[in-house]
């Protein structure tokens, strides 16, 4: 039988979060499932509408995005979390010595200016009785971490797996406060693989095949960081080889991490976060967390 065309839209430039996809592509796992997968890179964020509308079959997104989308009745469903735990962190240069959330006071925070990020910082500071009002917000938009850290801003919210590693590479010493350690609610899933409601209802076979191959890809990436890094680089030769290699080494361990299976998602995580967003007025109506994700399509081993 002839192969089925499938498009996957990334959430950013190709990076080590996506390695599994490229491995599955390169190693022919998709082929085995008779899938002809095309991986697309946008720049301006993940446009969930494109997946929801079915123009793209799958996409890389985040629990945050899916929750916001569903709150707006956009039928997105998360099929798997690529990383078990939130690898993002508040990072600052060592010399500024921000060790705890309390130290945020009187410092400048450089963010991308989304309301949620403010809510999060406020929340974590309130928890520790710190005064959020003492933090100065700066929106750094599309500019990157290193341009601004220590210049216009003292601490920023980064993905350790990329920016953190780059800092290491440059021998910049960072203080890191991992979000997952601050509050269980902040240990949400990011990034996740999503599709739209219709697919999981009417295209079960396709989704199953795709996830089977993808899971295989991530399994491989988990075992062979170096080789899979090469595969990623082969598909995105523009990337910084050194950075990718190191990033992959760090991240491979974290795909599955402490879970019994890669990609598996817990309802509590989804519920906790959406409730939190609702309480903090980040979404107008709360969502039914059970509908927002499914483990149904993860391969049964």
């Amino acid at each position: 039988e002839q192969k089925q065309k499938v498009t996957v839209q990334l959430d950013w430039i190709p990076n080590t979060n996506h390695t599994g996809l490229y491995v599955a592509h390169e190693k022919g796992y998709y082929e085995e499932e008779h899938l002809d997968v095309q991986i697309i890179q946008p720049v301006e964020g993940d446009a969930g509408q494109i997946v929801a509308s079915g123009k793209a079959d799958f996409a890389i997104s985040s629990q945050e995005a899916v929750t916001l989308a569903r709150a707006k009745d956009i039928p997105l469903v998360s099929l798997a979390t690529i990383l078990q735990h939130n690898t993002s962190a508040f990072a600052s240069l060592k010399e500024v010595n921000i060790k705890t959330v309390k130290d945020f006071e009187g410092k400048r925070y450089g963010g991308w200016g989304s309301p949620i990020e403010k809510a999060v910082i406020q929340a974590v500071m309130d928890d520790t009785g710190a005064d959020y009002e003492k933090v100065k917000h700066i929106t750094i938009g599309s500019t990157d971490f290193f341009t601004t850290i220590g210049r216009e801003s003292d601490f920023q919210w980064i993905f350790y797996g990329w920016d953190g590693i780059e800092a290491k590479r440059r021998g910049k010493e960072l203080n890191l406060i991992m979000l997952k350690d601050l509050d269980p609610v902040l240990d949400y899933y990011t990034p996740v693989i999503i599709t739209n409601q219709k697919h999981i209802e009417s295209e079960k076979e396709l989704v199953k095949k795709f996830m089977r191959a993808t899971a295989k890809g991530y399994a491989f990436a988990q075992k062979h960081p170096d080789e899979s890094a090469d595969i990623l680089l082969k598909n995105a030769p523009e990337l910084n080889r050194d950075l990718v290699k190191q990033s992959q080494n760090w991240i491979s361990k974290r795909y599955k991490d402490d879970a019994e299976q890669w990609g598996i998602q817990k309802n509590e995580v989804w519920k906790r976060y959406s409730d939190w967003l609702f309480e903090h007025k980040q979404i107008e109506k709360n969502i039914d967390s059970k509908k927002a994700f499914t483990n149904e399509f993860l391969p049964t081993q």
């Binding site: 964020g45 929801a52 989308a69 700066i138 929106t139 599309s142 500019t143 990157d144």
Partner: protein, 256 residues
């Protein structure tokens, strides 16, 4: 009468546009989170008018300031290029380079040099707007009727006088078509420039609502952007007609 229709019709057209939009939404049955119906958008527009207004102020400020400076810069550069052939050859490549630099990618540099304030936005607006003005005006200088020039030369007028009395006035039509272009771009560019990093502005509103899937707000913002641009261009049109009436004469009754 003529003027009335001239300034009314666009409105009619816009209404027609909305109808088209509404029809499109109804017929295609497209999901509201991709293309919301106009009435929804206008409700949003009304509901969040204060929010949108406060953002608009910022963007308007950026674009108007930028456009103002762009006019000065554009005219200035054009004059320099007209003044000396050497300067012309020297500047031309710079001009083109200035238009081809993808500033979003260069944001780090811009930020480091200009910080996060309104400055980098204005710089970007200026960069985008001065170019059409400059190029058009310069081409205007180049197509001046030699008769008038020779006349003033025969009277022993100096370069400056010739420029003031012949070159400048006769290239005004070119200048204004450049300005019209610039005016059309100003707002849009200001919006994009805010993506470099800002707290206020329609660009921020756009991105934020897009990211949180508030499509109706996105479209509300776009409508505002469009209206502002139309307004700006309208004003420029008026200025043009005031400042070079002779260009709009129906010469003789040739075209009867």
């Amino acid at each position: 009468m003529k003027n009335l229709s001239t300034y009314m019709l666009p409105v009619v057209v816009l209404l027609f546009l909305l109808l088209l939009w509404k029809a499109g939404v109804e017929i295609s049955g497209i999901e509201k989170w991709i293309l919301p119906a106009p009435e929804v958008v206008f409700q949003t527009l009304w509901k969040s008018r204060n929010l949108i207004f406060s953002h608009s102020i910022q963007t308007i400020l950026e674009s108007v300031l930028g456009l103002g400076i762009a006019v000065l810069l554009g005219v200035g550069v054009a004059v320099l290029m007209e003044w000396s052939d050497f300067l012309r050859k020297l500047l031309k490549p710079f001009l083109i380079v200035s238009q081809t630099l993808p500033f979003i990618v260069l944001s780090p540099l811009l930020i480091i040099w200009l910080g996060y304030g309104i400055l980098p936005k204005i710089v970007i607006v200026v960069l985008a707007c001065f170019f059409p003005i400059c190029i058009n005006l310069f081409d205007g200088f180049r197509s001046v009727d030699t008769g008038m020039t020779r006349l003033l030369q025969s009277m022993g007028a100096n370069k400056l006088q010739i420029f003031r009395h012949v070159t400048l006035p006769s290239s005004m039509p070119f200048f204004f078509s450049g300005l019209r272009l610039a005016g059309t771009y100003a707002i849009g560019v200001a919006v994009v420039s805010e993506w470099l990093g800002a707290e206020k502005g329609l660009g921020i509103l756009l991105i934020r609502s897009a990211k949180s899937y508030q499509t109706e707000t996105v479209f509300a913002a776009i409508i505002v952007i469009t209206l502002l641009s139309l307004l700006l261009v309208g004003v420029i049109e008026l200025i043009a007609r005031r400042s070079i009436p002779w260009h709009y004469f129906n010469k003789g009754e040739a075209t009867v």
